[in-house]
Subunit: 573 residues, 2 copies
């Protein structure tokens, strides 16, 4: 394409609310423009990247045996009522009435639609296994859209659904998709990790993995062990327990009962440690929560964070929230900050790390007082003990005997999930086996955020001057920049190179604008096209300068050589 | 692809509400499935056709210099308020509030979004001309969705927008798109006509064309002249006037004034002609209408149909509707059916055909009476005369001196429209010319119904047994059908052919199912893949049967020959 006819409006200043580097660059380089909060138009360069990513996704999913379909965005609410999600989904689900006053939703995902389809069309084991996928615009009314394409309200997504007879075929489909994902992300040039993820009450162990692109802007935290390769979303990451780990204990270990200490105003762990001159890991914090309407207390070491997903799972609860001030006042003898496990009249869950303490400092269940020298098991029961907290850097790896956990930030770019029969049961998607016996179809679901992936690639492939797109997803493969478009021999050589590249299947952009070289190179850096050929004063001799965006030393080479290098570069990831 | 793993659930019985042949076949052959009224899922075969059509559209639009973008479906109502369409669009526009209580619409079209983008990003004549397009899902809450993909509520559409400095650049963009459309429809194997269409109050003459695929199921009527090639949507088709045309006149031509006739109960033209023993073309019907709140009468010959679009245009009215009973009672001296032009106290418009009558029969403006021998110009004024009716078969062509109009039914598959500055003015999309003077950008808009086109192609390419897809849009190019998949030599030859075809770029479907030949051929006819190779008992000799769906005589040929023919066939439209 000739650049003078490319619609790529660049910007010098970007809005101050563009927090992520990828978002700022996409605005600056004219890849996207906002239409509303979390809603974007893809301009030609952005759309080209999106199409290249989509093409890779299609190729790899077809290779894995999945078939492409297209389901509608408009979905009758009735289907969502049948699955139970119409009420459960919350305000992210966009709802409206059609002109006949029927309730509809705008699809944030398609489990209901696809399961209803399969319920109608599949009835025999002969039709299984099968995996369907689509690449489609999805809608979620996010509370706080941010980071450009990373958290939008309208976004492009690949979602796939597998259907099989049993766990064995589910596992096979899951593996095939997992491997396809690895190929997709690798081809797009991403540094990523497949991590264990929480799968709620369905799926069991290994029932869900997320794929995380490593990036500081990521909203997820990955806990990983460099020793054995274990990695998991922090939501899910288990905490290893090892004999002989050092234990932090508070003073007063020898007393036969806890000592009451006056701690006025010490409501937070920070205030408490300051007041008493101890470390946070010597303290126990006791949280009041409401799980499915039942009040429950949870005791965590002061330096740790409670993990609500683990707690929910351990309790088998559908909903879990922190108790509000009113609930605390009704149930506890002291205000928040002074509650403790000793003598508490509520079901009490103890985190492993608390159970492992010899003594600790805890709330006294009396306003403005704490207890020093509390001994777990002696002063409060250890009947309900479990892994209730977020893993922390330095924790022992839960899988191997030597490694310790480390933390990285990640962007969730994909998800694979063993659904089991969660949707096939309510939507009556059954099949008859060889003997004629009927069972619900066993399903998996799989998602890749296509537009989010574009941001993730951008986060990993950029510098101060602009993007550095991997060849496989770059909007163009080669950028031809004549120093002066008015110079006849430069122009002739540039156009010849353009024709050669296009004929050789290398998508080229030719900067035919009447601009200063500095302006042209600045835009070229911003766009981030992998190969660059500058056609300058040696054009008459057939000599040009070849460079790469990710390795910018320019080399004087023949035009034919430059074209060859562009072609070689285009074939790389 | 191997057919045993293709999800293409065929049906014997289709729902009785599937009125169009294309709709019935798409259901029967497993190309689509309904999710709600006017809302469909595209199954793998249907999606393949849609993708092939989209690819052709992209190729031809890129060749015409248009650039692809993707705009969002979620659009802030604010943009629609600015253009004035938020109120005007009616119940087809799906509206909802987001979680922040802001009004949004689901895009049925994108003039507002694209014009707002251009208002922000284009400011100089140097950035013009430019044409942007997208292929995207659109939403219109149709009052009566029908005919499957022909009139749906969610559908795939290509919409394009051109931006230029003036009428000249608009005309150039319009021409380029018009020609691209012709190539697109021809490549997809459609029999179609580009017809003049109404462009409302904008655009002037030649400001809008529709592309119609000829099909009896079409909801539009095309008036055309076989002699000179004139063709127009009936909404817009002009009526030619020729000297010496025979005139139908009622009796009583010699009297000096009309004669009052008692015609009890003759409220309709049918009742009137029966009661008086005359032909409909001897009568004059007088319609009361309300244009922009003003009552107006319109006189049309009894055998003609009023054309509201022409009337609206002639009156320069924004809105036009038939007067209701209350309005008639308030304004006219007689009830509907007995109103006539003689002595009527309302602005009166006369159709050319009425002005051309020597005498006629008309309502007497007195209940249960008509007037015979009414002479236009003598008994009522001919001050406001115009073309107010639909053209009818046999009418003189408005363009040439000899031809007469004929009528065909058509499906509107595309539209090109000169918008002018309708959106650029309210949305302030201005540019500065070379002298720095600012003017609004002159726009055109262009649409192709991609999913509707799929139905139109299907309507034109089918028979009792199924589809007969043109090669360019067929879901597969070649269908390999072994008589018996269990026969080792048939299977080996079929698989060899499959590999040969795939390697040669011919998309093949191999029926590897363990079914009777009759079942396989029935499905093959239904799917309508252009080339077919039946591998039967002469497989061991390397001989197969080649046939084409549109020309089913089978020929025994060598496998290599059959593969060659498939390849040749795939290259045809």
């Amino acid at each position: 394409m000739y650049q003078s006819s490319l619609f790529a409006p660049t910007m010098r200043e970007v809005p101050s609310d563009a927090e992520a580097a990828s978002h700022r660059l996409m605005l600056r380089a004219g890849f996207i423009r906002p239409v509303a909060s979390g809603v974007y138009t893809f301009l030609p360069l952005g759309w080209r990247v999106l199409r290249k990513i989509s093409a890779i996704v299609r190729e790899e999913l077809e290779r894995a045996g999945a078939q492409e379909v297209l389901m509608p965005a408009l979905q009758p609410a009735e289907l969502w009522r049948t699955s139970g999600r119409y009420a459960a989904y919350g305000p992210e689900l966009i709802r409206f009435k059609d002109r006949g006053d029927r309730d509809f939703v705008l699809g944030p995902t398609h489990e209901e639609v696809v399961t209803a389809l399969i319920a109608d069309e599949v009835n025999s084991y002969r039709q299984l296994p099968m995996t369907l996928y689509q690449i489609q615009t999805k809608f979620r009314d996010e509370r706080r859209p941010r980071f450009g394409l990373l958290r939008g309200r309208e976004f492009l997504m690949m979602d796939a659904y597998s259907f099989g007879e049993n766990e064995i075929s589910l596992n096979a489909a899951y593996e095939a998709m997992y491997e396809a994902y690895e190929r997709i992300f690798a081809r797009c040039g991403l540094e990523f990790r497949g991590v264990e993820a929480d799968s709620g009450t369905i799926g069991g162990e290994g029932g869900s993995h997320e794929f995380m692109a490593l990036a500081d802007v990521g909203e997820d935290t990955i806990a990983f062990c460099a020793h054995c390769g274990y990695s998991a979303n922090l939501e899910k990451a288990e905490v290893g327990r090892r004999e002989g780990e050092p234990r932090a204990d508070s003073a007063n270990g020898g007393a036969t009962s806890p000592e009451l200490v006056h701690t006025p105003g010490a409501r937070t762990i920070e205030q408490l440690t300051a007041a008493m001159g101890v470390m946070a890991d010597e303290t126990i914090k006791t949280l009041l929560m409401v799980a499915d309407g039942q009040a429950t207390a949870v005791a965590i070491r002061g330096d740790h964070e409670a993990n609500e997903i683990k707690i929910k799972r351990l309790l088998g609860a559908e909903t879990l929230e922190m108790a509000d001030a009113g609930t605390i006042a009704a149930l506890a003898a002291a205000p928040a900050g002074f509650i403790g496990p000793v003598g508490l009249k509520l079901p009490l869950w103890i985190d492993f790390a608390v159970a492992d303490m010899e003594t600790g400092i805890a709330g006294a269940n009396k306003g403005e007082f704490h207890l020093r020298g509390v001994v777990p098991g002696r002063d409060f029961p250890l009947t309900r003990v479990g892994d209730l907290r977020n893993a922390a850097a330095g924790d022992p790896c839960p899988r191997c005997a030597e490694g310790r956990l480390d933390m990285r930030k990640g962007i969730e770019i994909g998800h694979v999930f063993k659904l089991g029969t969660k949707y096939s049961v309510p939507l009556q998607a059954d099949f008859a086996d060889a003997k004629g016996a009927s069972s619900p179809i066993v399903m998996g679901c799989y998602g890749i955020g296509i537009s989010r992936m574009m941001s993730a690639v951008a986060e990993q492939h950029r510098d101060d001057r602009g993007f550095r797109w991997p060849a496989a997803v770059a909007p163009f493969q080669a950028h031809i920049v004549p120093v002066s478009w008015k110079d006849a021999s430069q122009r002739a050589l540039a156009e010849e190179l353009y024709r050669t590249l296009q004929a050789g299947g290398v998508d080229a952009l030719l900067d035919d604008r009447d601009e200063r070289l500095g302006v042209k190179l600045k835009d070229a850096d911003l766009f981030g096209i992998p190969s660059r050929i500058v056609v300058g004063k040696r054009a008459a001799e057939g000599i040009v300068e070849y460079s790469e965006r990710s390795r910018p030393e320019a080399e004087a080479v023949s035009a034919a050589d430059a074209a060859g290098r562009c072609k070689q570069r285009a074939a790389m990831t």
